[in-house]
Amino acid sequence: MSQKIKDASIPTIPVKARFSRWFGRNLLRIYMIFGFTYLFIPVAYTFVFSFNDSGKSNLIWKGFTLSNWQNPCGAPEVCKALGNSIKIGLLATIFSTILGTMIAFAIGRYKFKGRSSSNLLIFLPMATPEIVLGASLLSLFLVFKINPGFWPTVIAHVVFCISFVVVTVKARIASLDPRLEQAAMDLYANELETFRRVTLPLVAPGIAGAALLAFSLSFDDFIITNFNSGTLITFPKFVYVSAARGIPAQANVIGSAMFFLALAIVIAAQLVKRKRTR
């Protein structure tokens, strides 16, 4: 009986169409495998060569060792560079997330005069090539006789992170269900309480995502940093400068560790999200 119903409700698909559909599906799967292999070849290479018993120049495979991982600060300057990058990244993330979130709420929540030109001002830094941002900021610092270094680099990073924070948080605000806030108001919460207990918790994942994005943009930035950091060395600068004479394997250790750390954070965030939605 049930068999009959099944047969009746699903129209039979011609063999040729079924084959082409199967082929289409698997072609894309095969393509995905190739695509991800392409994306991960240099990551895998960096990871493998972090175990290279290479001495100073990590160019040719010379044998397996764990010593680079046991002593990640073994190469001169590498941990100082990493420390600077983390400090700059954290400061740039804090400032850009606060400023960007405020702008996102203004644009996402209110209708006001000058809203579209505000959007334009947010879009412009994203449409400006990094080299122009970096070079123009350096010229400004030079005019005011401010030496490039730690704080000019933080300021430069905040400039290019703000727009990405605004775009990310704004998207989250736009996807909010306005009825949730109306419900809070109906339950006699005033504006501030509604914001603190309903709106902010709902937007929080967007803000967290924006902060993560800001940190990774800042941590990985080279061009703008190169213009505004003077003699201060950051991790990407360290890699770029040492590329000429060979990068120490410790840089590969740090690159790989950052990769796994970030992956762990993102996967943990996904798990938390899945648990909450259940």
């Binding site: 894309l28 070849i41 203004a106 090539p129 080299i131 350096l138 400004l140 990407p236 992956l263």
Partner: protein, 284 residues
């Protein structure tokens, strides 16, 4: 709240916009001023005075038109290749990955976290003389003894394509994922075959993603100098390399400023024309 409600958005905007005005708008204005300066006669290196020398622009452009051309050619090629590689990838993640969707999406972004310089240098070593690819291809007589894969314009374009691929994939995915599968089914009900439905329904609906992705790839690619510096040779220098060396090696700020301004203006004009033509204002 105590202040009138009309002011709330402006108060929220104030700190951020004050910051952007000081450290984004002001520097651009200052850059414009620097670009028309000339050397102080008998002054030190790096000493310049305002003479409204608009000839700087013509001089800078004429001297570097080759690098300008190369920047826009390489950036266009990298954008086209990235689109060709990323579209099927984003399509597969959006429609064919089932419960693995989120994990695959994370994997697209994951290579980001290994410093992009490390990855570019990894490509250089994989494809370089000491790597295993070149000797392997040589022993199979696929490439000649003299042929190299690095230090060529192909290597620079390939490096840019690779580095900006996630910038292309993510917006494409975002717009493909938003497509209601019923619209594609409807096309099938109206006797469109798979290819026609894809061409007439899926592609037009994913256009905002195509526009966002191509912009996010083209703009940084046109100003990039890292790929050209690591994977290229003196014959593959882009305008970014020229600006960088004018600033740091030659200390010729006016020329560097004129070049930066020309680059930015050219990109803005191209982007505006492109957005007009594509007919989407969704980005801004």
């Amino acid at each position: 709240m105590s202040f009138p409600k009309v002011r709330v958005p402006y108060l929220l905007l104030l700190p951020g916009f004050a910051f952007l005005f000081t450290f984004f708008i002001l520097p651009i204005i200052n850059l414009a001023q620097t670009s028309t300066q000339t050397r102080v006669a008998g002054g030190d290196t790096g000493e310049y005075e305002q003479t409204l020398a608009f000839g700087n622009y013509i001089q800078a452009f004429v001297d570097n038109k080759e690098q300008f051309g190369r920047s826009f050619l390489y950036a266009t090629l990298a954008t086209v290749f990235a689109l060709a590689i990323a579209y099927p990838l984003a399509y597969a993640i959006a429609f064919k990955s089932g419960k693995f969707k989120n994990i695959l999406l994370v994997l697209v972004v994951a290579p980001f976290f290994t410093s992009f310089l490390l990855r570019t240098i990894a490509w250089k070593q994989i494809l370089g003389e000491e790597g295993f690819v070149v000797p392997g291809l040589r022993s199979l007589h696929i490439i000649g003894e003299q042929t190299t894969l690095t230090s060529t314009s192909i290597a620079v374009v390939a490096g840019m394509t690779y580095n900006f691929l996630p910038f292309m994939t993510l917006p494409l995915y975002a717009s493909l994922e938003r497509i209601d599968p019923r619209t594609i089914e409807a096309a099938g009900d109206l006797y469109a075959n798979g290819i026609t439905a894809f061409r007439r329904v899926t592609v037009p609906l994913s256009l905002p993603g195509v526009v966002a992705g191509t912009l996010l790839t083209f703009i940084p690619a046109a100003g990039d100098y890292v790929n050209a510096a690591i994977l290229g040779s003196p014959n593959t220098k882009m305008i970014g390399n020229v600006i960088e060396s004018r600033y740091f090696k030659i200390v010729d700020y006016p020329t560097a400023a004129a070049l930066s301004f020309t680059l930015m203006a050219a990109i803005l004009v191209l982007v505006t024309l492109y957005i007009r033509k594509a007919g989407t204002e969704e980005l801004v």
